[in-house]
């Protein structure tokens, strides 16, 4: 099965492009110390130096090398994106799925709880969290995941509700299949396309939200991430620096998300055999 996935992914143009893009970001991030002579926190150059041989993307408002910070920032952003996407999707799946399968009062109670979470503004939660808990990357991942999952829970619930009534699933139920069995064996595979879309959206929202919260000054600004880089760069848009500070950061962000999205689509094709072209069946 796994080998099959790999070969299929290799044969899929979109999948190749997606993996390529992600590797293009991931590998330099991992090899950051080899690709840059500076440390991300090092005040190595003069302030707002334009791009040059020694500073490929120039320096920022305190004379740190932007290229170096971009590399190290990729680590944080990828970690946050990946961590939050998995945590939030899992939570949403469990909550949305159980609500759809159990139905009744449980469904109502859980969904109203989800509504409550949707109403509370992220900024309020972030302010509360920072006052009572010591910030750090793991707290940030949990915080973002808890802010992001409710939307998807409603989506999963809706999808499972309609899948539940499909003829063959009702049939399986009449043969005595348990709800868990139904969920894992029949429903989960059918969720594939939506699942991958949701994971991609979650990764994207997590990376964005991290940026947004630091834009508002309620995230941990000492984390070296693309979000905090964008936030700092945005303050100096009246100077030329945005061209080699904000633009590369924004483009890299966009590239990563696009890579994730392409990969998501490729996986969708593979996970749902009905959608495959005739030759691969």
């Amino acid at each position: 099965m796994h080998d099959n996935y790999k070969t299929l992914l290799k044969n899929n143009g979109m999948g190749r492009a997606g993996i390529g893009l992600i590797l293009l970001v991931l590998l330099p991030a991992l090899a950051a110390p080899l690709l840059s002579p500076y440390l991300p926190g090092e005040y190595s150059g003069s302030i707002f130096a334009p791009p040059s041989g020694s500073y490929w993307l120039g320096t920022n408002d305190v004379g740190q090398d932007i290229w170096t910070r971009l590399l190290y920032g990729a680590r944080t952003s990828l970690l946050i994106g990946g961590g939050v996407a998995l945590l939030a999707t899992l939570t949403a799946l469990v909550v949305g799925g159980s609500a759809a399968l159990c139905g009744g009062l449980y469904d109502q109670v859980v969904m109203r709880f989800v509504d409550a979470l949707l109403v509370l503004p992220a900024v309020l939660i972030a302010i509360l969290a920072s006052a009572y808990l010591v910030p750090g990357i793991s707290l940030l991942i949990i915080l973002l995941a808890s802010l992001i999952w409710p939307q998807a829970a409603r989506i999963f619930r809706a999808r499972i509700l309609s899948l539940k009534e499909e003829g063959y699933i009702s049939a399986a139920r009449t043969f005595g299949a348990s709800e868990t069995y139904l969920m894992v064996r029949h429903i989960l595979p059918l969720l594939g396309p939506i699942l991958s879309a949701v994971i991609v959206q979650h990764g994207r929202r997590a990376i964005f939200m991290e940026a947004g919260l630091s834009f508002l000054g309620v995230s941990d600004p000492t984390l070296i991430s693309w979000g905090s880089m964008l936030q700092h760069a945005l303050r100096y848009t009246y100077l030329d620096v945005w061209k080699w500070w904000m633009l590369p950061t924004g483009l890299l962000l966009s590239m990563t998300i696009t890579g994730l999205a392409l990969l998501g689509f490729a996986l969708e094709t593979i996970s749902d055999p009905r959608l495959l072209p005739a030759g691969n069946r």
Binding site: G41, Y43, I47, F48, D61, V62, G63, A126, I127, S130, A131, V134, P135, S214, F215, L216, G217, V218, S219, D220, P221, T222, S228, Q231, R235, Y236, T237, Y238, L239
Partner: protein
């Protein structure tokens, strides 16, 4: 039409009780309401009062008022309005004036009024006569809740401009010249304040969309080349590292000096403020302040001295950091992201640099970022080791120095241990002789530097750019109680006429 850009926009209804208690709110009100006295580049000038006399025995001030002044609704202004105002603020305090200083007001005749004080109060002319907007008795007389009084008649003053519109949502204000103004001729037919992000000001100035606005230091030169005037402001705001001087080793005065010597304040200015600031001195006041005096204990950057002090306190260096009884010399430094606060407010950039500098001195710092108001609350409740904060108000009457040292607010050092310092602070507010007062303030700065309960890091430099259609200037010791903005209403009034 004269247009002034502002980042925040809404500063409250431009009436004395409607404006928010910040400098820009007062400015918007000051175009409409007059005070007894006002200030220009040199010092006090007449406003509603044409002259004033101090009676030392009685501790009272006699004001002779301008004749022929009328309120915007045509009612004549008289000494009764002045008396009414100072009685009214005893019931309904005006945020910027301590009304309890005025014991009683005597109306001598329609154009003469005497204010008798309760105690010796040196800042009276600046902080009360030069700050308190005079209220119309015929309107405010029967208003019991001035804060929620939002009718349009709440905007009737005697000032050079009348309010045409105030829009809270858009953050805009529109004023029209008061043609009946007696003390001069309003220069502009209309003045407006509009809301705009600061990053856009340079473009907006060049396109003639705005006439004036506060700009970042980096673009000052290019704006000057394009023919705009850029004014560098006086240093009114101080960025501080607040120290919990009630906790552990931080309670030790010597150790606080070691901290100060281990922080390169000039580097903070050069790197984090890109040179647009003045490095901090231990005496709290910046060197361009008229009450500044040089202190002996200024803790220049000196790592060796820092180590000597720390080792003298029994600490031993292991690896990179000092230890004592197996405990690491370690503190948590609180800060808030710099994006949301006053320009120059210390944030993550400053915190990171201080962390790195203190690490070189063997002191381990962990950073923790909080939302601004949470940070204020933690400082207020003494739930911190070190924290980055700051405040303005250095430019006005030096009575404020007392509040920053011994006041109860979170932006005060709240330091009461030095008895001599406490006595000196009491004396300086009662001292009306300028030279004597300056000497007292010199001693206060010396003692403050010696105790060093809070470390002044730097004083940011603020810039205003304008297109010369009005002659903007910085007021001597700030507008009214000390607002450090070049938006004095005298810039918009032709006084020679």
């Amino acid at each position: 039409m004269y247009t002034i850009a502002d980042q925040t926009g809404d500063w409250g209804m431009p009436s004395p009780y409607g404006h928010y208690p910040r400098g820009p709110g007062y400015i918007r009100m000051s175009l409409v309401f007059d005070t007894l006295l006002w200030k220009d580049t040199k010092g006090l000038v007449p406003d509603l009062a044409s002259s004033w006399q101090f009676n030392k025995e009685e501790n009272s001030y006699l004001f002779t008022l301008q004749k022929g002044v009328s309120w915007h609704d045509g009612q004549p202004f008289s000494a009764r309005d002045v008396a009414f105002t100072f009685e009214y603020i005893k019931k309904h305090p005006y945020k910027w004036v301590d009304g309890s200083v005025v014991k009683r007001v005597e109306v001598i005749n329609d154009h003469t009024v005497k204010l008798v004080l309760n105690k010796k109060y040196a800042p009276f002319l600046h902080n009360i006569a030069g700050t308190m907007p005079i209220l119309p008795e015929h309107i405010m007389g029967n208003i019991d809740s001035p804060v929620t009084f939002r009718e349009s008649v709440a905007l009737i003053g005697t000032g050079p401009y009348k309010v045409v519109d105030y829009n809270k949502q858009q953050g805009t204000y529109l004023y029209q010249a008061n043609s009946d103004y007696r003390m001069g001729r309003p220069i502009f037919d209309r003045i407006r304040f509009i809301k705009m992000r600061q990053e856009m000001y340079a473009t907006a100035l060049e396109r003639g969309r705005i006439n004036a606005g506060q700009v970042p230091g980096e673009i000052a030169d290019s704006l000057r080349q394009k023919g705009f005037t850029v004014l560098a402001g006086p240093h009114d705001w101080v960025a501080k590292m607040t120290i919990n001087h009630k906790k552990g080793i931080l309670a030790n005065r010597q150790f606080r000096h070691a901290l100060a010597a281990a922080i390169d304040r000039q580097a903070l200015v050069d790197i984090c403020q890109r040179g647009f600031a003045l490095a901090g001195g231990n005496g709290l006041l910046p060197s361009d302040n008229r009450w500044f005096s040089k202190v002996t204990d200024d803790d220049p950057y000196d790592l060796n001295r820092a180590s000597r002090i720390i080792e003298g306190l029994g600490y031993v260096k292991k690896d990179r950091f000092y230890e004592k009884d197996g405990k690491l010399l370690q503190f948590e430094l609180l800060m808030s992201g710099s994006g949301q606060r006053t320009q120059g407010h210390p944030g993550e950039r400053e915190a990171e640099l201080i962390r790195d500098q203190l690490a070189l001195a063997g002191i381990k710092i962990t950073l923790r970022s909080l939302d601004p108001k949470t940070l204020d609350a933690m400082i207020k409740n003494w739930k911190f080791d070190l924290a980055l904060s700051g405040h303005g108000g250095l430019g006005g009457d030096p009575a404020s120095v007392n509040r920053f040292i011994g006041g109860k607010s979170f932006n005060s050092s709240r330091y009461e241990k030095n008895k001599q310092l406490n006595v000196l602070m009491q004396q300086q507010t009662g001292e009306t002789g300028e030279q004597k007062r300056k000497k007292l303030l010199g001693e206060i700065q010396e003692l403050y530097a010696y105790e060093m309960p809070t470390l002044p890091l730097y004083y940011p430099t603020w810039f205003w750019a304008h297109d010369n259609s009005a002659d903007l200037f910085y007021t001597n010791q700030g507008i009214a109680i000390g607002v450090p903005l070049p938006l004095n209403k005298l810039s918009f009034v032709d006084m020679d006429n």
